[in-house]
């Protein structure tokens, strides 16, 4: 029995240590955003890898999610003669929840795994050690540019996802339900306006919707970098790091989404 408790104790300590290392990595990477030298070319390269190269999959996912949302809601709303509100439902769902979360999960799968695999390979082939011996801090060179790029590109991808999702909803509303496009777009605007505005022009729904991907971007980049940099055990270790990144980042996104929603609802309700 004592052995069981001892094992639980040791496992718990290891997890706490992992969490501590994760947050130390996060803090160091954030600190390096403001310290010279700035690896601007690396940031641009990562923005391309994280943002531009994820565009196709985000476009497809957003568009079809909007279409499915419109289709499902039209069936339900038709029972109450409320199909004119399809635009409101699609907009609220896409901007507040589905856009950020879907973009986050897709990027976690595509980019998070890529970051972990790349850094993991660099670790097992001693390239990280080579950076160290060449007088370069690997966190500054590898983690900070990825973090910055993800912080910028995730909100951009979310906006894209929101827009094409609402467009997808419009396609179904027009061609399947028979709702005029002008009516659909007026309900979209009503939904946006109903949430209110911050600083007169910024819709509150957008602020809610875009604060999430900003955090999700940080989670994806840091999780990929953390597991990549801590890869052990050769190529098999790279596979483990990649899988862990996708699983942990996806779970972290969903849990963070819940708590952020609670927080933002409370904040914007007052």
């Amino acid at each position: 029995m004592r052995n069981v408790f001892q094992r639980i104790n040791e496992t718990a300590k290891l997890h706490v240590l992992d969490a501590q290392e994760y947050f130390v990595l996060a803090w160091t990477a954030i600190r390096f955003i403001f310290a010279r030298p700035f690896y601007a070319a690396d940031v641009v390269q990562q923005m391309n890898a994280i943002g531009v190269q994820s565009l196709t999959i985000v476009l497809l996912t957003g568009f079809f999610t909007g279409m499915v949302l419109s289709l499902q809601s039209s069936v339900q709303m038709a029972q109450f003669g409320a199909t004119i509100y399809i635009g409101r439902l699609v907009t609220a769902s896409m901007i507040r929840e589905l856009g950020p979360v879907l973009a986050g999960l897709i990027v976690a799968g595509r980019v998070g795994s890529g970051i972990a695999a790349q850094l993991g390979s660099m670790r097992v082939t001693e390239q990280i050690d080579a950076l160290n011996t060449l007088g370069t801090d690997p966190i500054k060179k590898l983690v900070t540019p990825r973090l910055l790029a993800a912080l910028v590109m995730l909100p951009v991808l979310t906006i894209v996802s929101d827009v094409v999702g609402i467009l997808g909803g419009n396609v179904i509303a027009s061609f399947y339900v028979g709702l005029p496009s002008s009516l659909y777009w007026s309900t979209v605007w009503q939904q946006i306006a109903q949430g209110g505005f911050t600083l007169r022009y910024l819709p509150n729904d957008f602020i809610q919707g875009l604060s999430k991907p900003f955090v999700f971007g940080g989670i994806i980049a840091l999780t990929g970098c953390y597991f990549g940099l801590n890869t052990r055990g050769g190529t098999e270790g790279v596979g483990v790091a990649t899988t862990r990144t996708v699983v942990i980042a996806s779970i972290a996104i969903l849990i963070t989404d819940y708590f952020m929603t609670q927080l933002l609802l409370g904040f914007f309700a007052t």
Binding site: P37, S121, M122, T125, E126, Q127, D129, A130, N132, T133, L134, G135, T136, D137
Partner: protein, 306 residues
């Protein structure tokens, strides 16, 4: 000879008992070993390694110590190094040998300040680097060039970008100056700059990767070159090329080199001195001639009949 430290007790403790039939030297085997030993000595003389070591000794009576380890001990889950002390002088090539897992590569990591010893001190060019901050350690590493076992070239960069990396990172040279320096270093390692500069590491052979790794290590004109198994996984001809290159570095650039190696033959050729680790301790430190001339059981066993 004065810095030869040889602990017979340790070697004897690890060696096979003298009455064991497997190691009892018969006359034929002894003659065979003597022949191989003579061949190695003549090879040493031909390559000029011996004269290099002598020249280095003669140049200054008390050559400047560049790397000093003082009573260094380190343990992770188990002891890795115990009370290891040695000094590598200016223009010297010190080869660290030993069985796998005896802490050879750990010594390189200590010199690079990637690891901190549990006890003892590490000095580089007279400065104690044991308790430097991470940022200061990066500055110390700029004075060193490191060649990794697998070359560790950045696979997303071309050969040119790899060799130019430390120059772009730590100097304010213009792009023209960087290119000139890269070409110079590639030529020094016997590579044709025009042929390899735009190639990716994946397109190079093992020997070429090692040479590009050496060129990258040399780019900043370091005071110290560190090599981790520079000849491992290479064919005998390429091993000879890399060995000659390390000798050329010492001869023409006068850098202090620490080489971790398993390869007895090439180590005897390139070393000014050889340091042998066994069971976390240093059991021998002396010239190649002293090593090959020793009658110690463990040394003889380690040299495999040479």
């Amino acid at each position: 000879m004065s810095d030869t430290t040889f602990r017979h007790g340790d070697g004897a403790a690890r060696g096979t008992p003298t009455n064991a039939p497997a190691t009892r030297p018969d006359e034929r085997a002894r003659r065979q070993r003597e022949r191989v030993r003579r061949a190695i000595r003549s090879e040493l003389a031909r390559d000029g390694a011996q004269s290099l070591a002598d020249a280095a000794r003669m140049e200054e009576d008390t050559p400047r110590p560049i790397i000093e380890l003082e009573h260094v001990s380190l343990a992770f889950d188990r002891p890795v190094l115990h009370d290891v002390s040695f000094t590598a002088h200016e223009r010297e090539t010190l080869v660290v040998m030993g069985e796998s897992g005896t802490g050879k590569s750990t010594i390189l990591k200590l010199i690079l300040r990637l690891l901190v010893p549990d006890a003892g001190r590490v000095l580089v060019d007279g400065a104690d680097i044991t308790h430097l901050t991470f940022e200061d350690a990066l500055l110390v590493r700029e004075t060193m060039g490191m060649v990794f076992q697998g070359a560790a070239l950045f696979d997303s960069m071309t050969v040119f970008e790899n060799v130019a990396y430390p120059l772009r990172e730590h100097t304010s040279l213009s792009e023209e100056e960087v290119e000139a320096r890269v070409r110079e270093k590639l030529r020094f390692v016997d590579l044709d700059p025009d042929a390899v500069m735009e190639q990716l590491p994946a397109e190079l052979s093992g020997g070429m990767k090692k040479r590009v790794g050496i060129a990258r290590g040399l780019a900043n004109d370091p005071l110290i070159m560190l090599y981790d198994e520079p000849t491992s996984g290479l064919d005998p001809l390429t091993t000879g090329t890399i060995t000659r290159l390390i000798q050329k570095l010492q001869r023409e650039l006068g850098v202090t080199s620490i080489v971790v190696s398993h390869d007895v033959r090439s180590s005897l050729r390139m070393a000014s001195r050889i340091l042998l680790l066994a069971d976390t301790r240093m059991v021998f430190c002396g010239s190649p001639e002293e090593m090959t001339g020793s009658d110690d059981e463990y040394l003889r066993e380690f040299l495999g009949g040479i």
